[in-house]
């Protein structure tokens, strides 16, 4: 747009500010659509449901999308259903625990967060996800194992 020049050759100040702000707004508004490299594939039913808020699934192998609140829901159900169980197979065989393990490494940051709150047998999900123990020392307690896992994960295990 060509602005009328005043006699001294400058555009009116208020017009410059208003048009500048308008352009910046237009740029900011358009930017995510222009620049985003993430294409929503609406033919994928998981993605369609996820963005429409209808998703019951919390994990998709293609997108890796995990909903934190859904993870918490699984964790809380697992905890309350197994809180008085005496044997590891009852605790790791719980359906909610299996769902958490099936998320693989996508679940690790959420598990780490739980372990940082307090030591928990959810640490066994890390054993299953990474298919290894953090310590082969028979004297390592579960609380110590939780601390060792947090340390290892913080170092980029």
């Amino acid at each position: 747009m060509n602005l009328p020049l005043l006699r001294n050759g400058f555009k009116p100040l208020f017009l410059t500010i208003a048009l500048g702000a308008g352009s910046a707004f237009e740029f900011a508004y358009n930017d995510p659509n222009i620049e985003s490299s993430y294409n929503i594939n609406e033919s994928d039913p998981f993605i369609r449901d996820y963005f429409n808020g209808n998703s019951n699934s919390i994990f998709n192998e293609v997108t890796g999308i995990i909903n934190k609140s859904e993870f918490d829901k699984l964790f809380n159900s697992w905890e309350s259903e197994t809180m008085f169980c005496s044997f590891s197979n009852q605790i790791t065989g719980n359906a909610n625990f299996k769902k958490i393990v099936s998320m693989g490494k996508y679940a690790v940051p959420f598990i780490q967060e739980k372990l940082e709150e307090k030591p928990s047998l959810i640490v066994w999900a890390l054993n299953e996800i990474y298919e290894k123990k953090i310590s082969n020392n028979k004297k390592t307690t579960i609380e110590e194992a939780c601390r060792l896992w947090i340390k290892a994960l913080n170092k980029g295990f």
Binding site: T82, M83, F84, C85, S86, F87, S88, N89, I91, T92, K118, P119, S120, L121, V123, W124, N127, E128, K133, I134, S135, K138, K139, T140, T141, I142, E143, E144, A145, C146, W149
Partner: protein, 155 residues
């Protein structure tokens, strides 16, 4: 003690409501389970080797010659191997320590141990230790019934 913890335990073990000796006696810890606690260990999770997966902090302690299964008979044999013998009742006997094994849906679900003062103690899963007046007051949906009583001389 946080009253909500007591309430959660009472919800699961309603017979404890009338147990005047019921109390929560330790902070929650995942370090040991009820079998360890019945054996007086507090630094390990003790059980038969339930699967090939190895989890941190578990000692798959199981005596030789005892079937690797969660049946009440297998647990009875395991406690026999460490010096316990069967007895007919949980009633206090001077000079002896007693344990109770619980059965629920065909498997051994829990173990509790008598204290020197005649009260009983249980470790509840990955949670707290509790004190109760008899092995029967934690019977119910979670652990089923106390079906085997065993005793051993105090060491």
């Amino acid at each position: 003690m946080d009253q909500s913890i007591k309430q959660r335990i009472l919800d699961q073990f309603p017979l404890l409501k009338d147990d005047l000796s019921f109390d929560v006696t330790s902070p929650a810890t995942p370090n040991y389970n009820c079998i360890s606690w019945a054996m007086k260990y507090s630094d390990r999770w003790t059980q038969y080797n339930s699967d090939s997966k190895m989890h941190d902090g578990i000692v798959y302690w199981w005596p030789d010659g005892v079937p690797q299964e969660p049946t009440i008979e297998a647990y009875k044999m395991a406690f026999q191997k460490i010096g316990y013998e069967g007895c007919g009742s949980p009633c206090h006997e001077d000079g002896f320590i007693k344990i109770a094994l619980y059965e629920n849906k065909g498997i051994c679900s829990h173990a509790s141990r008598e204290l020197r003062n005649g009260l009983w103690t249980s470790k509840l899963g990955q949670n707290h230790d509790i004190q109760h007046s008899s092995p029967f007051t934690i019977e119910g949906q979670a652990y089923g019934r106390a079906v085997v009583f065993m005793k051993k001389k105090f060491e």
